[in-house]
Symmetry: C2
Subunit: 205 residues, 2 copies
């Protein structure tokens, strides 16, 4: 999952306080960069978030980031790869199933499961808020294609338009529990349970 050619085991040589030494909470430098970058990508947008800004927030310089990631885009790639693999597995499973209501519901259940990871919700949020930018980012293209494939599994072109639309909204229901209702105050558990319930209903006959 982690393809870091350069420094599989980076030498902890110098005595200066750097990104990698702030790991008193068990977070690697790589992870800290990912967290800060993702947060900024969501709040400010990918384009408007400069590497300088990320570095500043981490207390280092731009150049330091380039030791951990070859490009800005690579940060996004590292963020999304795990989720892409997880969704790909679900799609593989779904493609081998008969196209029944029960399959749709199980597909939704499994898809909703992918939102349980600590960063999953944020990654979706990032994706939704940066669609235009992310679409030629490779990682974004992959996620977009997967979303379309999920929707295509939920309905066929021969079905009425309103059915197609209704079923597709199930995906938005799952995603939306993370971003559409920011104003309101419910906890994660409840939100996800509600989203799953609504989504399941949307794909029912």
């Amino acid at each position: 999952m982690s393809q870091d050619p350069a420094h599989a085991s980076a030498p902890r040589s110098r005595h200066r306080i750097g990104l990698d030494d702030q790991a008193t909470d068990g977070q690697s430098a790589r992870t800290r960069i990912q967290d800060v970058a993702l947060q900024l990508f969501i709040e400010e947008g990918y384009d408007k978030t400069s590497l300088r800004e990320i570095a500043e927030k981490l207390g280092v310089t731009k150049a330091a980031l380039y030791y951990h990631f070859p490009t800005k885009e690579a940060i996004v790639a590292s963020l999304t790869e795990d989720r892409v693999v997880a969704v790909a597995k679900i799609l593989e499973w779904a493609n081998a199933q008969p196209r029944t209501e029960q399959t749709r519901q199980e597909l939704i259940r499994r898809y909703a499961e992918t939102m349980r990871g600590p960063r999953s919700g944020q990654i979706i949020r990032f994706f939704e808020r940066n669609q235009a930018t992310v679409k030629d980012l490779g990682a974004g293209e992959a996620m977009r294609k997967q979303m379309v494939e999920v929707m295509n599994l939920l309905s066929t072109k021969t079905e009425p338009y309103d059915v197609q639309l209704r079923r597709s909204l199930a995906i938005f229901a799952i995603h939306a529990s993370w971003f559409a209702m920011r104003e309101r105050e419910w906890n994660e558990e409840e939100g996800q349970a509600a989203a799953l319930k609504v989504a399941i209903d949307l794909v029912a006959d």
Copy 2:
């Protein structure tokens, strides 16, 4: 609606072929800029669309654009202002109604009506695909607030989470008919009718 202090009636003085003289199809220079800009903002993203690119596509230079719009952001503002006014009117109406199922359905109907204009769908598409960027653009802020207000009118905080989510999805249903299902081939009429049907059902009890 059109706040152009500088050139309410621009003098058609010179003989050179410019933006304003290409109006053989009845489009003003202003309109042509808006159309091209909006299209690029959707396809490439607001940030990544430079004024040079817009100008090039119109066969003029960057500087020419600055005659018609004082800033890049002003183009967005000019694009969204009519819709913001239209939605504001609907919100004003809705706020004066009792919070019944019938009101919700009528609210959805009226909201769906705003998608009938030629550019409305594109503007929503622009908004959705550039959320992160557009959020500190003034125009974007206004639209975001309106969307939240519509959702708040569709459900109250005391209602169960799944009901709140379900009702909020009605808005996405209306919007989605314009962008979520690009892969599939149905005409506008059918798509909007389907969206309205789904949305109405989502706000029903």
